[in-house]
Symmetry: C2
Amino acid sequence: MKLGAIEAGGTKFVCAVSDDNIKIEDREQFPTTTPEETMAQVFAYFEQHPVDAIGIGSFGPVSLNEDADDYGHITNTPKLAWKNYNFLGAMKAHFDIPFYFTTDVNVAAYGEYKAGAGRGKKNILYWTVGTGVGASYIQHGKFLQGYSHPEMGHILLRPDERDNGFKGVCPYHGNCFEGLAAGLSIEKRFGKKGYEIDPSDEFWEIEAKYIAQACVNATLILRPDIIIFGGGVMKQSQLFPQIQAEFVKQLADYVDFPEITGYIKHVALGDDAGITGALMLAKKALQEIKN
Amino acid sequence: MKLGAIEAGGTKFVCAVSDDNIKIEDREQFPTTTPEETMAQVFAYFEQHPVDAIGIGSFGPVSLNEDADDYGHITNTPKLAWKNYNFLGAMKAHFDIPFYFTTDVNVAAYGEYKAGAGRGKKNILYWTVGTGVGASYIQHGKFLQGYSHPEMGHILLRPDERDNGFKGVCPYHGNCFEGLAAGLSIEKRFGKKGYEIDPSDEFWEIEAKYIAQACVNATLILRPDIIIFGGGVMKQSQLFPQIQAEFVKQLADYVDFPEITGYIKHVALGDDAGITGALMLAKKALQEIKN
């Protein structure tokens, strides 16, 4: 059995093939340009590397409502060439195999849930803090999904008094979580990238406070067993003890949570989380067809 | 078939009996004093009115983790006589019938989900804004439950600049949602109850802004199909159009949601939501035993 994965990001697509133990045998990447160009490369890849099922994690927003006409489409994206593109439909027209279609953040969360920092936990909250903020919640193996998929990156936070009245960079909300704490906000404040800022800079305390505040609200609403962070900003390892300490302070012992250093953790799979999760979801799609 | 319900609140217990169509045949209430006194009245009630199953909605915090030693206990409550009281265990010791044990907020949410404002919806968020703030989330008939039950009443909100630097009244967090917007905070600001304040007072705009902010964060995290509000403060009907308008403004078209006047709604069952939900959960417990 061969499994396929597509990690469709806003800047690049990664395609991969594994055996049924999720051992990756081949991987290739292409720039995200137009559907015509990029998808032609995807089709060619899986014609050269035939697989029995494909897991897809797509940049979004995407429609995940199986009852809706636009299920499997990329919907209202600012990447105009991809707006309303029927991603899953195009794949199905080329390959008569089972698919699992979800968000790019969901596939990475699933990888961490099954094989990474969330292994053995029942309820995991996964945040990625990079250029923007994405999130996924998995309960007993299922993605949280209501009217549509969560967009927790945009929850409204309290600005910190030490943040010099910074208004945030989110074009929708200004100072939501993403607007205050993602990579673009750091560039806006400092004129340089997060990794160029000294790890001892006071700014990281402010950053940790925002991230902790998001963790407090998500903890009170969801009660996860673990909160896992990935994404470029979270490679600043000094943030973790700061977030943990701030979380304890802000939650103020109101509810129980697991031991803090095991509760707020860095990803274990690194940049492989997405592809690993997509391969595992391909396997899940295949098993569900068989049952 | 006879169904029983206990709505165990911090000030009073309500016990009721219905037929299997949830037609209430008898109802009685007792003040919440000590477990010895109050529970003796509960036992006597159900000895006089034998039932086939009982649904219990208890004030909390309660342990709902069926694998934990303290499952069915009231845990860390400020009502010291009830701290660590084994509520479910005491009921089981008296009556050899199926029980459904959950929070007081969950039973009210379940009533609204099955027979009230949430009827026909798949994913409902229920908030009660009274003396404090409670919340419940039901997805496809199941209560959201992770490491423990949600405590969404304490999410951290942004203070409003028109709120005169009010610090909130929550003993844990100061200005969390409950600390800024529940009944006790209104009394602290005005020295009188919410219903004594003119419905045209500017304060209701501030109150609506806080409630809308909680709705925005919960919408982005959970993506419910409907948000239902009960509790004493929400009897101020002028709040609903204000909350709806503020919600639309704060969310800023970032994600889709159902038509707004059908999305943020008042409870339909009023003060009967809790007892109705508890009776329905008794029925569910009985059906699960039979299957």
